[in-house]
């Protein structure tokens, strides 16, 4: 290709990269900036840090006090909910991808259809009320059940396509070796779709983590609240204290960062693994 073309492409690339980075990181940067400001400071200069001696460290103290007690709740609900969802998604997508039975496609489309229904909030409220009748009121387990019930449909859709792309000889070879369906999921589906599964799990985890409405509606006991609800309360009193709010969000993102650092390796490995195709 010509030099000229190259320079043009170079420009396009830089543009794209800048674009992506801007949209990805500017909000985060501003979150940190604002977390050190009072409301007045924020209104005067929302874009960058003020001089360090005017920083409002107390925002972080208030935020910590608010969030502090809810961290364990959040972790429990998000973690358990993700695991349960993963199991359901794995089983469903494996069954749809590998079994042939009459009406399979119709069932698949019906399930897909539920994705378009008010789903999440509506269905969950309903179910929660049922759970309440069943004596699971005001328990974190209720949240776990909720998290597991909604939102697997997209996961099933994606994972089913992925499983169908795995060469069927891999499954047959395991079958001849005497491996049943459990062995096939464990030794073929799980390792080969590690990348896509980790993305699904992380999305679920994030969803649970950032979930506000359910806990707000459903939990009565203050000690059971999850982080975003705690922050939501902070948000609701009198005037919004943007600095405290941002500090709270920053704190609540720490566990997510830890997960990211751990799963990063897994991501990279998953991405590099495309070995079956090659």
């Amino acid at each position: 290709m010509a030099e000229k073309i190259n320079k043009f492409y170079e420009g396009v690339k830089v543009g794209y990269v800048g674009f992506v980075l801007f949209f990805a990181f500017v909000p985060l940067f501003i979150m940190v900036v604002v977390s050190f400001k009072s409301n007045d400071q924020f209104l005067q200069n929302p874009w960058f840090f003020d001089s360090p001696d005017t920083w409002k460290w107390e925002n972080w103290a208030v935020a910590w006090d608010t969030v502090n007690g809810y961290i364990a709740n959040s972790i429990f609900v998000s973690f358990t909910g993700t695991i349960v969802t993963l199991v359901i998604v794995l089983m469903c997508s494996y069954a749809i991808a590998r079994f042939n039975f009459p009406g399979k496609n119709i069932i698949f489309y019906l399930v897909m259809a539920t994705m378009f229904l008010p789903g999440t909030v509506a269905a969950l409220v309903t179910l929660f009320n049922l759970l309440m009748n069943l004596g699971l009121v005001n328990s974190l387990w209720a949240l776990v059940v909720m998290a597991s019930v909604g939102g697997q449909v997209a996961g099933v859709f994606i994972l089913r396509n992925f499983i169908e792309d795995i060469p069927k000889e891999l499954f047959e070879s395991t079958q001849i070796d005497g491996g049943g369906h459990f062995a096939q999921i464990r030794h073929i589906v799980l390792p080969l779709s590690a990348s896509i599964i980790s993305v699904t799990c992380i999305m679920d985890f994030l969803g649970s983590w950032n979930q506000v409405i359910l806990p707000l509606l459903l939990l009565r006991d203050d000690a059971l609240l999850t982080i975003p609800v705690g922050l939501f309360r902070l948000d609701g009193e009198y005037v919004k204290q943007y600095g405290e709010l941002m500090a709270g969000y920053a704190i609540s993102s720490v566990p997510l960062l830890v997960i990211f650092l751990f799963s990063m390796k897994f991501f990279v490995k998953g991405l590099a693994a495309g070995a079956v195709k090659g």
Binding site: S173, I176, G178, P191
Partner: protein, 372 residues
């Protein structure tokens, strides 16, 4: 090791429905103990379906399948005493070569020492000793296929099943793996059933070859018998490359002997005075249509003066080095191929004269396509 006996084996997909399809049509086949049997045919002929029924991966919808003396129609794949090697290797990409080979044994809960002994032994046989710690990604196609064979060997099966194992390899590696599998058969002294669409693989590897078409068996025989004494036009055309040339025509009497006359597409067809053997065959078919078949290497270039000379025009000449393939057209407008010595060069469009070697030619019935 064991024989495999197939009796009226039948496979119908979606039986009773509108898209029902009968892939295997009640075939009989006996594969002897320690035999290397090749199932060959074009795609859709039922060869893979047959193999997969033997493996237990497809349900048998009719007939019986015996491995040794045991009817195994209803036995699960893992209990049939078979091992299968797949075209795409079917290796676990996330496991090392050792773990890939050991996987089936681990599922059987075999003791670790026994697993190690068997895998090391298989690695020895296949020259994989130095690669046991590598992932499949780090191996060449040939090495991957060898690992797949290793997975079969460690199971010590009574019957090895191969489903087009060399199709994903490049030409040179295919030739090499071909002789490796032949040597392996000699070494393990095992019953092997090998499916391929490649007639060269079939010819060079099989003790016997079973040629299939549309769910039926066309002929089962040794390689040279298939080549020299095909039972029908399908086998004659399928085995050999370039394939046998066929000329449609009819037979008439001339001066006590029989004469074959080509039915021309345009212009005039050629005539051949048949020898005794072909005349006798042709006599069975007097007055009805016959097909004359001759292989490319049994065509010789002669001068116009030769009494049996047939005129032909050169369309394309493909030099292969040792010999040249000539794509020719008869005066009657039919295309055929001749394999000639590479010692002189040909110009396109040139008119030449050829003679067919009658001792190595065949006559077929136009209607049944069987040899006369």
């Amino acid at each position: 090791m064991s024989s495999v006996t197939i009796d009226k084996l039948d496979k119908t997909y979606s039986p009773g429905k509108s898209d029902s399809f009968r892939a295997v049509k009640g075939i009989d086949l006996h594969i002897k103990d320690k035999e290397f049997m090749v199932l060959v045919g074009p795609s859709g002929c039922g060869k893979s379906t047959t193999l997969r029924m033997i493996a237990g991966l497809e349900e048998i919808t009719g007939g019986t399948l015996k491995i040794g003396d045991r009817i195994v129609n209803d036995v699960a794949p893992k209990d049939r005493g078979i091992a299968m090697v797949f075209q795409n290797y079917a290796l676990y990409p996330h496991m090392t070569v050792f773990d890939n080979m050991a996987f089936g044994l681990k599922l059987q809960k075999m003791p670790r020492e026994e697993i190690k002994r068997r895998v090391d032994n298989a690695a020895d046989i296949l020259g994989l000793q130095t690669m046991l710690d590598r992932k499949p990604k780090a191996l060449s196609g040939g090495q991957r296929q060898r690992v797949a064979v290793g997975r079969a060997i460690v199971r010590q099966p009574e019957v090895f099943l191969f489903d087009e194992p060399l199709s994903n390899l490049d030409a040179k590696m295919r030739v090499q793996m071909r002789t490796e599998i032949s040597k392996l058969h000699a070494r393990l002294d095992a019953t092997m059933i090998y499916v391929t669409h490649d007639q060269v693989e079939a010819m060079t590897m099989g003790d016997r070859i079973c040629v299939m078409k549309d769910g039926n068996i066309m002929q089962v025989d040794g390689p040279l018998n298939l080549y020299n004494k095909p039972q029908n036009m399908f086998v004659a055309g399928f085995i050999g490359s370039p394939p046998m040339n066929f000329f449609v025509g009819n037979v008439s009497d001339q001066a006590g002997a029989k004469k074959f006359t080509e039915k021309p597409a345009s212009g005039t067809g050629f005539e051949i005075l048949l020898d005794n053997r072909l005349s006798e065959a042709a006599a069975k078919q007097s007055g009805k249509g016959v097909v004359f078949g001759v292989r490319p290497e049994d065509i010789e270039i002669v001068t116009a003066a030769d009494s049996e000379a047939i005129e032909a025009a050169i369309d394309v000449a493909e030099p292969m080095g040792a010999e040249t393939f000539l794509y020719l057209t008869t005066a009657g407008g039919h295309n055929f191929i001749a394999k000639v010595q590479a010692d002189h060069s040909f110009s396109l469009g040139e008119k030449i004269f050829v003679r067919f070697d009658l001792a190595r030619s065949h006559l077929f019935d136009t209607a049944t396509e069987n040899v006369l």
